[in-house]
Point group: C2
Chain length 193, copies 2
DNA sequence: CAAAGTCCTTGATTTGAGATAAGAAGCTAT
DNA sequence: ATAGCTTCTTATCTCAAATCAAGGACTTTG
């Protein structure tokens, strides 16, 4: 019998006691999505929290100029959510899209509230995961406007190189807030060293 | 008898039932800080979560170039925290500083965990507050590199004008990721309209 | 009331990333 | 295989904001 990545995550990262794992798992349902499909889009309500068993998602925001700005990419064992919409049933301003054919485990609002209410370790683990995202965003914000495009790319290679293998460069350029042309020039320059 | 802003916040925003409010309140202790004092600094462990009864704080990050980048300002009724450090007792990379003489209510790790474990409405309220910050950061990140300095300042006036009255312009410039010179020119230009 | 220190403004100059345009390379499907 | 995509690269030009450099306005302190 195959071991579920979700189960492993709950046990090892969230430290959910064995007795709670089984009933937690039952609150989720599997979902397969095709490349480029959206899990939710701006204007819709985000009705689930998503756990990635296999594949790659990106969350993005469409700014006032109509441009897509990628907030983050998440891969295997990552969580994606938009609780501002999810908790209050109000339309989200964000978008969540699959960049590859992906296998997800998803949990709906009712079950999520139940899980948070009943399983302390899940609650604390969830808050912790939120905080990690939060901190990542703070750092990215602090660096976004200070680093040169070259510094951004070098940091990206250093910290998130796995993404480089599976994501088109134009998405990476948008993520790093530069044009594909600029990214291309930087890559050429660095390759020459 | 004076009504505590913290109590009002817990009741009205967090929807904590009356019976739980009293014991929640007891988990906090008051703290007064002077202008420019730090609540925590990079390298220390963030040992409390902070609620602002009166005053103004800023959280900032010192980037690789040694420059201070302000993540956010918070005022009356705002919460400040750095849970990545707080939950795991590891050194933070962020800084929290008072910009005015301020009155805070603070809660330590033990009591916070207790509150999260025992009072569901506090837990959900806390997650929600985290998410609001999270969303604000996502939006700011998405706009940060696209908006012109003038657009950033105009948005700031529109969305956060109260801050304009009480925070030095050079802090606002750093918050909006521009030099004080640029901000000064923009203000002149706008004033002339 | 000087003197020193902040904070803000103004001007001159430089520069690096965006915009624009065009072409090359790599895939996919029939 | 070739037509038609999508993605990536290269070159030129332009301009807006950073940098550099001073000076002015306030505030605090001895």
């Amino acid at each position: 019998m195959e071991v579920s990545p979700l189960l492993t995550q709950l046990k090892q990262v969230y430290k959910v006691p064995d007795r709670d794992c089984a009933r937690l798992i039952q609150l989720f349902e599997p979902l397969e999505v095709k490349k480029n499909e959206h899990l939710f889009q701006s204007g819709q309500v985000a009705r689930h929290v998503y756990f990635i068993e296999k594949g790659c998602l990106r969350q993005y925001y469409i700014n006032n100029n109509g441009e897509e700005r990628t907030i983050y990419f998440k891969m295997e064992d990552g969580w994606c959510s938009e609780l501002v919409s999810f908790l209050d049933n109000k339309p989200t301003e964000l978008n969540l899209q699959a960049l590859e054919d992906s296998k997800l485990q998803i949990i709906n609002q009712k079950n999520w509230i139940y899980a948070i209410s009943q399983v302390k370790s899940f609650t604390l683990g969830f808050i912790r995961a939120q905080q990690d995202t939060n901190f990542m965003l703070k750092k990215r914000l602090a660096e976004a406007t200070v680093e040169t495009p070259e510094e951004k790319y070098l940091r990206f290679i250093k910290e998130e190189s796995p993404l480089l293998q599976r994501i088109p460069l134009y998405h990476i350029a948008a993520y790093l807030s530069m044009t594909p042309e600029t990214l291309s020039r930087i890559r050429k320059k660095i390759a020459g060293k």
